[in-house]
């Protein structure tokens, strides 16, 4: 399994800035743009900016994410837009960028009020999509 973290990402990457903004929300413990076997964009400070409580379980969550991306790769063309899984006390939310194998991923506490967070996840997805389209 090969992970290319921060590959080709500049500190002023506009997508990283969107992730930085999302990560400031109390219940977003970690976030990134990723695809199978690859994290495409991290927040500006990489995993250092993730909330401390996630570091202990980050490796296992990270591995589980890859299995979800197998499903995303299979069904994104068929219109799969969102997925989520719960692992221990955390949930991983996947917001797929339409017709791609990439997704905006956020790790949140299992008992967080997800509806409110999902609105800001959707805003981030739209913003990132706009940046991708302009790029």
């Amino acid at each position: 399994m090969l992970y290319i973290v921060g590959d080709g990402i500049r500190m002023d990457d506009p997508i990283a800035k969107v992730l930085d903004d999302l990560l400031r929300l109390e219940d977003i413990l970690a976030c990134m743009v990723a695809r199978q076997n690859m994290i495409s964009v991290m927040p500006s400070d990489g995993t250092d900016s993730f909330k401390p409580e996630i570091h202990q379980t980050w490796d296992i969550i990270h591995r589980a994410m890859d299995d979800v991306f197998t499903v995303i790769r299979e069904y994104s063309q068929a219109g799969l837009t969102e997925m989520e899984f719960r692992l221990q006390d955390y949930e991983a939310l996947f917001y797929v960028f339409p017709d791609t194998e990439n997704a905006l991923v956020a790790i949140v506490p299992a008992l967080a009020n997800k509806g409110l967070l999902e609105v800001e996840m959707e805003n981030a997805r739209r913003e990132i999509q706009k940046i991708m389209n302009e790029g």
């Binding site: 903004d21 400031r24 929300l25 109390e26 969102e82 917001y95 008992l111 009020n113 997800k114 509806g115 409110l116 967070l117 999902e118 609105v119 800001e120 996840m121 959707e122 805003n123 997805r125 739209r126």
Partner: protein
């Protein structure tokens, strides 16, 4: 002349957000605002504080502009849907008289809070051309001495102990918002006026919520804005609830009309689980019910309006409603995404650019239920109108049509179009 404008800010810093929300709201107006309604999510509490936020607003807003508002779970306007940030609504008209008032300690003594608020008004006349906008402090999960901050107490003995503490909890300005009692009192004084109102909240943690009154920030306050105007407006109410099939259930209530002793002559908590089909031994199911009890309110009809009673606490063998149950026979309702989209779709279809302004108050559960799908509602509104609009997602909704029946509602959508 009538002008209205909606602005917003996504700044994290409280002071900058205050400045930006005020600037973006009033810069589109050709005249000084006659009033300003200000709303924000709870986030500024940890990013500079609400005092700084208001200082930012008043760095920009013309002196003496009447301002009220408070914290909300989220908002929608012409720019999108947000659960973080601030938004403002300004109106200017030469044919509008505005008065604002404030009362304190709404949970401790709602009647006194209303009287205090009215004492700010020079004119207490009442007629159908008067419109009232109401902002009330929302519910706060009580911090029971020796038990802690709890809305679910499983132990029978601890439940009984917490019930004995309920009067103290109210005196400490915690627990139920009592916005239903406040609305009744307002309507008693102004039976001819019309009203739309909301209770403030945080990000669904129910720990803190704030009210804005001119340049001051309060908790546990009632803010009223009384408008005397000659422009035409229309009120509309719809619901995201559907009635579950079956008979009404018998509720035995304590005198406060919130605490339920028995349902169908059985212990209230036990029978509640029985009715909604929760296996008490299934921890996962129980957890889900505790976080989703808003989706299964009991309720009754008043003039075709669904008056929902939300289960806000389980205190041992007793159930505690967030609001007063006016009847002892209540039906079970269910909030569904399908009904939310149906009712909001019908409302959107009635909107047009013939209206200068569309202002809506929706229950926060709508946004919690739909999450990112809330953009479906946004798209249906944007399809109909280009004019500014503002939708607030709040803890409870008040509406009064001048017909003698005040409605304090949950899971509803109330719109005011001008």
């Amino acid at each position: 002349m009538f002008e209205s404008s909606v602005g917003m800010s996504r700044e994290w810093d409280a002071r900058k957000a205050g400045q930006e929300v005020a600037k973006s709201t009033i810069e589109k107006l050709n005249h000084s605002p006659s009033l300003f309604l200000l709303f924000s999510t709870i986030h500024y509490k940890k990013h500079g504080g609400f005092e700084e936020f208001l200082k930012g607003v008043w760095d920009v807003l013309p002196e003496d502009t009447p301002l009220i508002g408070g914290t909300v779970a989220g908002f929608m306007n012409q720019y999108g849907c947000f659960t973080r940030g601030a938004t403002g609504l300004a109106v200017c008209s030469e044919n509008i008289d505005v008065e604002i008032g404030i009362g304190h300690n709404t949970k401790r003594n709602p009647k006194k809070a209303v009287e205090e608020c009215f004492s700010n008004f020079e004119n207490l006349d009442d007629d159908k051309n008067q419109f009232i906008f109401e902002v009330v402090s929302g519910a706060v999960i009580p911090n029971f001495p020796k038990i802690g901050r709890q809305s679910v107490i499983k132990s029978k003995s601890a439940g009984e102990a917490s019930i004995k503490l309920l009067p103290l909890i109210s005196r400490l300005n915690m627990g139920a918002d009592r916005a239903d009692e406040i609305l009744d009192d307002i309507v008693n004084h102004f039976p001819e006026s019309r009203l739309i109102g909301m209770t403030c909240m945080d990000d669904r943690k129910f720990i803190h919520n704030y009210q804005f009154f001119n340049d001051e920030v309060f908790e546990n306050a009632l803010c009223l804005m009384k408008l005397r105007c000659d422009f035409n407006y229309k009120l509309n109410t719809s619901f995201g609830l559907v009635e579950k099939q079956g008979n009404a259930f018998d509720f035995e209530l304590y005198p406060d009309k919130r605490l339920v002793k028995k349902i169908n002559d059985r212990k209230a908590t036990e029978e509640l689980f029985n009715i909604v089909g929760i296996d008490q031994d299934n921890v996962r199911m129980l957890d889900r019910f505790y976080s989703q009890s808003f989706y299964y309110p009991f309720g009754c009809y008043k003039n075709n309006f669904i008056h929902a009673c939300i289960v806000s606490g389980l205190l041992g063998e007793k159930v505690y409603f967030a609001n007063q149950a006016d009847k002892t026979k209540l039906n079970l309702f269910q909030l569904t995404g399908k009904q939310i989209l149906k009712s909001t779709g019908e409302l959107s279809a009635s909107l047009s650019d013939d209206f200068h302004l569309s202002f809506m108050i929706m229950c926060e559960t709508y946004i919690e239920t739909l999450g990112g799908q809330i953009y479906k509602i946004y798209d249906s509104i944007k399809k109909r109108i280009n004019n500014p609009f503002l939708v607030l997602f709040v803890g409870g909704e008040s509406v009064y049509y001048g017909d003698g029946i005040p409605h304090y509602l949950y899971e509803s959508l109330n719109s005011l179009t001008i």
